[in-house]
Amino acid sequence: MAHLRVSDVTLSFGGLKALSHVDMAIEPGLITSIIGPNGAGKTSMLNCISGFYHPTKGKILYKDKDLTHASPHQVSTMGIARAFQNLELFSGLSVLDNLLLARHQNLTYSFFQAAIFYGKASRIEAENRAAVEDVIDFMELEPVRKHMVGSLSYGFQKKVEVARALTMDPEILLLDEPMAGMNIQEKEDIVRFVMDIQKERNITVVLVEHDLGVVMDISDRIYVLDFGQVIGSGTPEEVANNPKVIEAYIGED
């Protein structure tokens, strides 16, 4: 039984079809990767799922709930969190505040309770702070907890980006190229985190990534996109032997 089902999704911008008739099924508890050459529509696919784009045709269902026309904040309240490709952090805030912002929906006090900040607001803030610290601990962000995000190195910012999505306690985590622009060591770190996220926290991971080595190593399922169409899917072995995929990546001989 698929967790998240993308059926027959077409996304067009004017005459350009970013996605055409894409079908995907994201199984719970697995790492599903979406790969493909530049401009294949990987990020468009994530944008459709997370509500930034709305498919022109087709449907996206998550546990029988229709996500097709949901806005990003509605999607995120349903338990689908997303990390962005080009760092979309709140650079004027500390790491801690960035992560606390991701707890937005869990902070249930009212405006007046917040203004008085006594009792309920204070208690809930402290509880959520504990949840945030848990993620900080998990992602090894302790040394930079109170630093301004804008002043951190690229590698740390990428980690904060993933941590922020994780702080939302999602059931599905959408990671958009978490390893782009990193060196081998940093990549290994992130890979370790992604695997831990799946194993220790039982979160379904959808990974968009360019590094084929990483993708083949850690994915349970792979979807290959090219020019907005799914040209192959299955386990890493199946995909690696798929002639269409080989053609898209290496070209005809």
Partner: protein, 364 residues
């Protein structure tokens, strides 16, 4: 937390609640309390003329208004060139009540705290309404949209006979438990009232900034796409920011109406909107203490320049225009200089001064 709570040295937190405190050490708290005691206590010791008391009252009212503007512009990153119009909404709320039921009606004179809150709510409603373009517009375009509100407000007031076409609408004298506040105590009375309101609202803002209602503003300023993905509705947050700013402005307007015992349209012009902007910028956008520095600095400058231009007018009798031009000139110059050399405002000086004195008397 360790035994000695007087100094920050050697202290560490053992619970998240301790970290939420506004004052981390007893020393901080004591200094702040002393400061408040001085603010409330000095009029009992010293006596100053009503002219200077009025200046102080004006500073405090400007602080209330700038509180809203700083939340809007500094924290939420939304430009508003119509802030004086929101202040005007508050003032004209009181004025409308006076027009309908009479300026000396018991509601106006005895239930003024209620009217001040109502004025704040009216400001918030108008703020939310004017904030609607923020759903679509950003930066300069939003500035123009708020500017148009300012223009509409001025036009509306000037042409409505209900509002006396912008001429003064009188507001009755307020009553306190001891009876009507007399002519001589008027400014002192309002000094205490406004100071209390500033302190209460200041703590309110401080608390809000520690919670999601403050953080969401900054989130929308820094990155509204990400804010959306984090589960907050950026459009709603922007409207909320405008409503919040409108509330503070409305309260400031009502206080202005009571302080001057009258409402005229020329206290809420575009010029005043720009002055509020200047106060917010000079104070320091996006900082809490900047809210207090800005109005103090700008009003003090006004006072000094006024005295200086009197002096200049005395010597430069052949060029009386020099004296009158000095005020806007110095005002503009200060804004330009701040934007060029200290865009983070006086609050940044405060921060630097604090970090210098932190280790005193040790060098490192």
């Amino acid at each position: 937390m360790s035994q000695n709570r007087w100094l920050a040295t050697g202290n560490f937190f053992t619970s998240y609640k301790q970290e939420q405190r506004t004052f981390f050490t007893h020393l901080d708290r004591t200094i702040f309390t002393c400061f408040l005691v001085i603010l409330f206590g000095w009029p009992l010791v010293f006596e100053i003329s009503n002219k200077y008391m009025l200046v102080l009252d004006n500073i405090l009212i400007a602080i209330v208004a700038v509180m809203g503007l700083n939340l809007l512009l500094g924290f939420a990153g939304l430009i508003s060139i119509g802030h004086a119009a929101f202040v005007g909404i508050g003032a004209y709320t009181v004025a409308s009540v006076c027009q309908v039921i009479g300026e000396n009606h018991v509601i106006v004179t005895h239930f003024w705290p209620v009217l001040i809150v109502v004025a704040g709510i009216m400001g918030a409603i108008f703020g939310a309404f004017v904030g609607l373009p923020a759903l679509r517009l950003k930066h300069l375009y939003l500035a123009i949209a708020t500017l148009s509100f300012q223009m509409i407000f001025e036009w509306f007031i000037q042409f409505m006979s209900f509002f006396n076409q912008g001429q003064t609408i009188y507001v009755g004298r307020a009553h306190w438990f001891t009876g009507q506040v007399g002519r001589n105590d008027h400014y002192l009375f309002w000094y205490y009232i406004i100071l209390t309101i500033v302190v209460v609202l200041g703590f309110g803002v401080r608390n809000l900034l520690k919670t999601k209602y403050g953080r969401c503003l900054v989130a929308v300023r820094d990155n509204d796409r990400a804010a959306d993905a984090m589960g907050m509705n950026p459009g709603l947050t922007k409207v909320y920011a405008f409503a919040l700013a409108g509330f503070f402005a409305g309260v400031a307007g009502a206080l202005h109406a009571y302080l001057y015992r009258g409402v005229g349209f020329d206290s809420f012009t575009l010029h005043h909107s720009v002055a509020y902007l200047a106060m917010a910028i000079v104070g320091g956008l996006g900082t809490l203490n900047g809210i207090f520095w800005g109005p103090v600095a700008i009003k003090y400058l006004d006072l000094q320049v006024e005295q200086f231009s009197e002096l200049a007018g005395h010597y430069l009798t052949y060029a009386p225009n020099v004296a009158t031009a000095l005020k806007p000139l110095s005002f503009g110059l200060v804004i330009v200089l701040f934007l060029m050399y200290e865009p983070r405002g006086i609050a940044n000086w405060w921060r630097i001064a604090k970090s210098y004195t932190k280790l005193w008397p040790f060098r490192y």
